[in-house]
Amino acid sequence: MAHAAQVGLQDATSPIMEELITFHDHALMIIFLICFLVLYALFLTLTTKLTNTNISDAQEMETVWTILPAIILVLIALPSLRILYMTDEINNPSLTIKSIGHQWYWTYEYTDYGGLIFNSYMLPPLFLEPGDLRLLDVDNRVVLPIEAPIRMMITSQDVLHSWAVPTLGLKTDAIPGRLNQTTFTATRPGVYYGQCSEICGANHSFMPIVLELIPLKIFEMGPVFTL
């Protein structure tokens, strides 16, 4: 989960998120260097003695400052498109979970191996145990196995919501009347948090998502089905 005053991305829990972090570092370095160049150019404008305002015909410079940004954009676009298509790969998911957004809670359906359906409400502050996270912990977590491709089908019962888990690199809109799909494979066990990411009313900030990722062997023993 995020810690206080965190600016950067959370640690990756899926291969896609690892790729996104790599791409983020790549784009940020390019952005940093461009900003550095622009700041230097601004500094020069403050200290220049050049006052000729009739400069024209700088063909070489204009060619350079057209071609160079095009090259930079290609250098950014190619890895970006690679990751974009990687997120759309269908990798034969072994489990399908449905996530339905409501005002202001989530409903999860495990219908592959039985008919488990439950709601996931944020724990009100009065009900928090010591160690629980305020505005993040829920009464019923989504328990999933690691190292198994999982398909999430996301929709909404009422207004727009968005099911987001930053550490997995997931954010998918929950749209009433539409079924959106996202797939992921978690690489390490743990408890991971996300929050609704589409404004949906008064309690938009109070409908978090909590995933509890456990080893496949333990998941197969059926802890999630003892609710």
């Binding site: 965190q6 959370q10 570092d25 370095m29």
Partner: protein, 115 residues
């Protein structure tokens, strides 16, 4: 990468207060070499030409080019290394899962080499 510092651990230092060069692979290496390249290029140009402003321009250009060059070179090698690590991890996993069975990768490899 994004975990908060544990008590007792030295506090993270960020370049200019927000650039996390310590935890970003290749960033510290690229910026250090870029700074060195900038100083060498700018100072070298000044020694030859005695032009201050132009030497500063060369220094800035040198910083950008050297940083970018080191960055891409290091990231390319880092990506290759990650791919090799992933392949090694998968092979180790396969070996552990299938050792002694007909799917054992080592048995397949020995069988093909003896044929």
């Amino acid at each position: 990468m994004a975990a908060p510092p544990e008590p007792g651990e030295p506090e993270e230092r960020k370049l200019l207060g927000f650039l996390d060069v310590e935890n970003t692979p290749c960033a510290r290496h690229s910026i250090l070499y870029g700074s060195l390249g900038s100083v060498v290029a700018g100072f070298g140009h000044f020694l030859f030409t005695s032009r201050i402003r132009r030497s500063c321009d060369v220094g800035v250009g040198g910083f950008i080019l050297v940083t970018l060059g080191c960055w891409f070179h290091c990231r390319y090698n880092y990506a290759k290394q990650r791919i090799q690590e992933r392949i090694a991890r998968e092979e180790i996993k396969k070996k552990i899962l299938y050792e002694g069975t007909h799917l054992d990768p080592e048995r397949k490899h020995n069988g093909s080499s003896s044929n």
